[in-house]
């Protein structure tokens, strides 16, 4: 992958030998940590060195070990996605299982607070202590990242500590933290070398016995500033007469670093001097890169020798491969370079750009090309980099280039211009996009000789891509499905016959617009074309993503067989492609839903287990919520309404939307369960917040919500005896039945007919109730629907029995009646055994959980954080953490989410045990 995270940024510097011990600072930092540790001082005060030494010396805690998540930030981390990608990756590496889900959510575009809530949920029960170190925080601090950092800090559990090193105080509530004793501070005044430390340091670093007055003079002149003492020490080495040098230095009032760097540079052999100046433009240094930039050889050894001689290079890894200059030294070197060799600078950047381009690092390649002032070259590089960036979802980078490149360079570069539009649109930046598209259209009218095209292969795609983006604009901005369909169809026609990808994307977009219009037949049709195109283009992972939508149509239309075939076929494709292809877990979730609808609960549970076994690698971003929705359906089928409720609550929390319309909103599913258990107040609150009422105009997109409202009214009648509620429900169901029938949506129609039957029975008219029920069964039989009736519980079981009296010969009906009186109905207390195994066996654990651990596990499945769990159990947080650690070990998981999922699979969370 060309855009993997920069590994060296996770490198946690190790203390170097020959460091001055600083017990007074170790004492300030201590081993018992506050919520925030802030090391705030200008450049060159030894902040990073101090942290490295302190963390290396910090002892184990009484519960677990101490883990360090280290990120060295830089200017490219001011965007929220980049910043949190690094932070969560560092956390995940330090404590596996903590950051993975958050990273998925982040990648799928969830708000940072949602992402962080998930991470905090894991962190709060983490058995071990974690130090999250953000080094050089001032480089990344921006309005985009600041709210998230404040949120994280505010909710940090006690075993996790934030450590920030920075040159400027961060915009965090420092005064409040200070007042609460939650802040440890080390500032410039603390970091300055004392006379004693300076003496030790200079003796070590120079090997000279300096006399006390000299040390005092140096210390006074540098004011204990470590970087300048380091420079002074380098200058002092090999001097015959150190006192004279010190006198000269002390008597000069020039900027300390300037003076000393000049001293150091003057004493270097010419080649070292040239090397230092030539490489000053680089943010990271490695042998081959420096060779290319300085047009010399042997840079690798040069870097090693600089490090040995302590000449301001800092290693960035353990292999002596990457280094950087000490920031302060680099700044002064650059000033020298700019002042003395202005003419060389552009050439250096140009060669650096070329090297990074060859090494497959487009970000640095583009940055150096822009720094060289070579806009045309930068434009070429951006054009070439865009396809790969799109693959790894780094569209934010593309969007940032759209800002960096001047408009006139885009005037005759259609491939580049359309690529930038793609980057902007995927970040929901629509301003000015329509104008950019118009300009691309203008360029397409020009003779090809007037155009600059670097990526020929992409050029053929521009005409179709143009219409595609217009279609997307029409859908997202104008909210105009008809225009979307028109543009998408034009894109399809403009695409080359073998450009399966664009044709597939256009079909999908058109299908999506038809879907939002409720035209399911057209939508299904276009999506099938999209599926075939994606398959031909070899984009199997996208086939799987699209399959979910197709499966949803089929299910909505009541066609379980079609849904099953689509999922199975895509799964087959995926398995041919390799094991655990991204999206294959989602196919199992889809198959689980189909099996459950037919009451094959064993198969449904097996598919869910398979989805879990395949692991996060095999999941699309939607899987966390979809698999919980499926599991909730199973819990409900097993009569465990509380379990269903908590699974759906989790599903709401991890919900990730995509472009598809949300036709079965999870909050509405939650409201249905709330109504079923009699929590009418909460269900009513849902209806109020969604503004859904029985007098609304009915549209396909809100059909599920309206059916939910009808259920709520039925529950109000059943529990509160409200006659108006029953009348509302009856009227609404009648209109819903008409709409579903007119739209050919058999799935909802079956459900609504069943509800009409229940409503009539509730009104005292059982014979009249049997008519709609008979119709529902007739529609449901060909596809083998079962759960849609069984989930309604006892009243439905009674109706089915009555209908069986009228139609004793109907085999399908007999099976339903039999299943309805089995143990899996919602309210039936009958323990009679049937062929349907509801719970997977509860003996899968080699080492069973203790009662106490079971209690902790149940609390882990709730919203409570670590301290709240401790309060609930009236034990210390450490005890909770120890239990959690044991639970994780016994379940073979490493995080809270997996523990809860596993517990559901093992049936450990059912009410019976508590």
């Amino acid at each position: 992958m060309p855009l993997a995270l920069v590994e060296t940024k996770f490198f946690h510097p190790r203390p170097r030998h020959g460091m001055v011990p600083r017990p007074r600072l170790d004492q300030v930092l201590g081993t018992r940590q506050t919520r925030l540790t802030l090391v705030s001082a200008p450049a060159g005060f030894g902040k990073t060195t101090l942290l490295a030494a302190w963390l290396a010396g910090a002892a184990d805690t009484e519960v677990g070990t101490r883990r360090i998540a280290w990120v060295s930030l830089d200017e490219s981390d001011t965007g929220a996605v980049a910043f949190w990608s690094y932070v969560l990756t560092a956390l995940e590496r330090a404590a596996p299982g903590v950051g993975a889900e958050g990273l998925d959510l982040l990648e799928s575009g969830q708000p940072v607070e949602t992402v962080l809530a998930t991470v905090l949920n894991e962190l709060s029960v983490l058995p071990d202590d974690v130090d999250l170190v953000l080094d050089d925080y001032h480089l990344a601090e921006s309005p985009e990242i600041q709210p998230g950092v404040a949120f994280l800090l505010e909710h940090l559990p006690p075993q996790v500590h934030l450590v920030i090193s920075t040159r400027a105080d961060p915009a965090l509530p420092l005064a409040r933290l200070r007042a609460r004793g939650e802040l440890t501070e080390v500032r410039a005044g603390d970091l300055r070398f004392t006379n004693e430390e300076a003496t030790t340091y200079l003796a070590d670093a120079t090997g000279l016995e300096l006399d006390a007055r000299d040390v005092e003079a140096l210390e006074a002149r540098t004011e204990g500033w470590i970087a300048s003492l380091q420079l002074a020490a380098i200058s002092l080495r090999d001097r015959d007469d150190p006192s004279r040098f010190i006198a000269g230095f002390a008597g000069d009032d020039r900027y300390v670093v300037d003076y000393l760097v000049e001293e150091v540079l003057d004493r270097q052999p010419e080649e070292v001097r040239d090397f230092l100046l030539g490489t000053a433009i680089l943010e990271r240094l490695t042998g081959p890169l420096c060779d290319a930039v300085t047009e010399t050889s042997g840079s690798g050894q040069m870097l090693e020798s600089l490090e040995r001689r302590n000449l301001f290079v800092v290693p960035l890894d353990d292999q002596r491969r990457w280094y950087r200059y000490h920031h302060l030294f680099a700044d002064v070197l650059r000033a020298h370079l700019l002042g003395e060799h202005t003419d060389r600078v552009a050439g250096l950047h140009r060669r650096a750009s070329a090297w990074f381009h060859e090494s497959g690092e487009p970000l640095d390649a583009v940055r150096h090309a822009l720094a060289a002032g070579d806009v045309a070259r930068a434009a070429d590089l951006v054009e070439l980099a865009i396809p790969a960036l799109r693959v790894v979802r780094r569209e934010a980078v593309i969007a940032s280039w759209a800002e960096a490149l001047p408009d006139d360079v885009l005037r005759n570069r259609p491939v580049l211009a359309i690529g930038l539009v793609g980057g902007l649109m995927s970040g929901n930046q629509f301003a000015g996009v329509a104008e950019r598209l118009d300009d691309v259209e203008r360029q397409l009218g020009l003779p090809e000789a007037e155009l600059v095209i670097v990526d020929r292969g992409e050029f053929a795609r521009v005409p179709a891509a143009l219409e595609m983006y217009r279609a997307a604009l029409a859908l997202n901005i104008a909210g105009d499905p008809a225009a979307t369909i028109a543009h998408a169809e034009r894109a399809f026609d403009r695409a080359a016959e073998d450009d399966h990808l664009v044709r597939a994307a256009a079909s999908a977009l058109s299908g999506l617009a038809s879907w939002t219009l409720g035209d399911l037949d057209a939508a299904h049709d276009r999506y099938l074309v999209a599926l075939a195109g994606l398959e031909q283009a070899g984009h199997i992972a996208d086939v799987l993503g699209c399959t979910i939508a197709v499966g949803d149509f089929a299910t909505t239309q009541g066609r379980l067989g079609d849904a099953q075939r689509t999922f199975e076929r895509s799964l087959e494709l995926a398995e041919k492609e390799g094991p655990a292809l991204r999206g294959s877990a989602d196919m199992h979730v889809g198959l689980s839903e189909v099996a459950r609808a037919r009451n094959d609960l064993e198969a449904a549970a097996a598919h869910l287990r398979r989805s879990e076994e395949l692991g996060e690698e095999a999941e699309l971003p939607q899987n966390p919520y979809r698999s919980r929705v499926a599991a909730a359906g199973l819990a409900r089928a097993a009569g465990d309404l509380d379990g269903a409720l908590s699974l759906l609550e989790e599903a709401v929390r991890v919900y990730v939307g995509d472009y598809s319309p949300d036709v079965r909103p999870v909050p509405a599913q939650l409201a249905r369960v709330q109504a079923a258990i009699g929590d009418l107040a909460t269900a009513r609150e849902w209806a109020r917040s969604r503004g859904v009422s029985a007098s609304d105009e009915l549209t396909y997109l809100r059909e599920y919500e309206h059916v939910t409202l009808a259920r709520l009214h039925l529950a109000e009648h059943a529990l509160e005896g409200s006659e108006p509620a029953l009348r509302e429900a009856t009227g609404l169901l009648e209109r819903l039945a008409e709409a579903a029938e007119a739209g050919g949506r058999i799935g909802p129609l079956i459900e609504v007919l069943g509800l009409q039957a229940l409503a009539q029975q509730a009104g005292g008219d059982q014979p009249g109730a049997l008519d709609p029920l008979e119709r529902a069964l007739a529609l449901a039989e060909p596809e083998g629907h079962v759960r849609v009736f069984l989930d309604e519980g006892d009243p439905m079981a009674g109706l089915l029995g009555a209908l069986a009296g009228r139609r004793p010969e109907w085999g399908y009906l007999r099976d339903l009646v039999e299943a309805a009186h089995g143990p899996s109905t919602t309210t039936s207390p009958s323990p009679a055994k049937t062929a349907i195994p509801v719970d997977p066996p509860r003996l899968a654990l080699v080492d069973p959980l203790s009662e106490r651990e079971l209690v902790v596990l149940r609390l882990l499945a709730t919203d409570l954080d670590g301290p709240s769990i401790a309060r609930e159990l009236v034990v210390s947080l450490n005890t909770v953490r120890t239990h959690t650690k044991h639970v994780y070990t016994k379940l073979g998981v490493n995080n809270r989410r997996s523990a809860v999922t596993k517990a559901h699979q093992l049936g450990l969370l059912n009410r019976s045990g508590g």
């Binding site: 500033w225 020039r254 002042g339």
Partner: protein, 78 residues
Amino acid sequence: MNTSGTGEDWYEIHLRGRLDQRWTTWFDGMTVSTDADGTTLIRGPVADQAALHGLLARLRDLGLPLLSVTQVPEEASA
């Protein structure tokens, strides 16, 4: 933010320590002059407040103690 409305605002930044002429390029063409009292004066146009803060951040990164930052009238012969 531009009070004159026509061009850039001029600023004068006073630092402790003496900076060489060479730093002129580093400071994007602002004039750098030193005083006999061992202080430095950086003077010139600044595009807007964001640019001013960028400039101050660069000074911070050099570890140069700041004495004052003042907005001054534009210089006729820049």
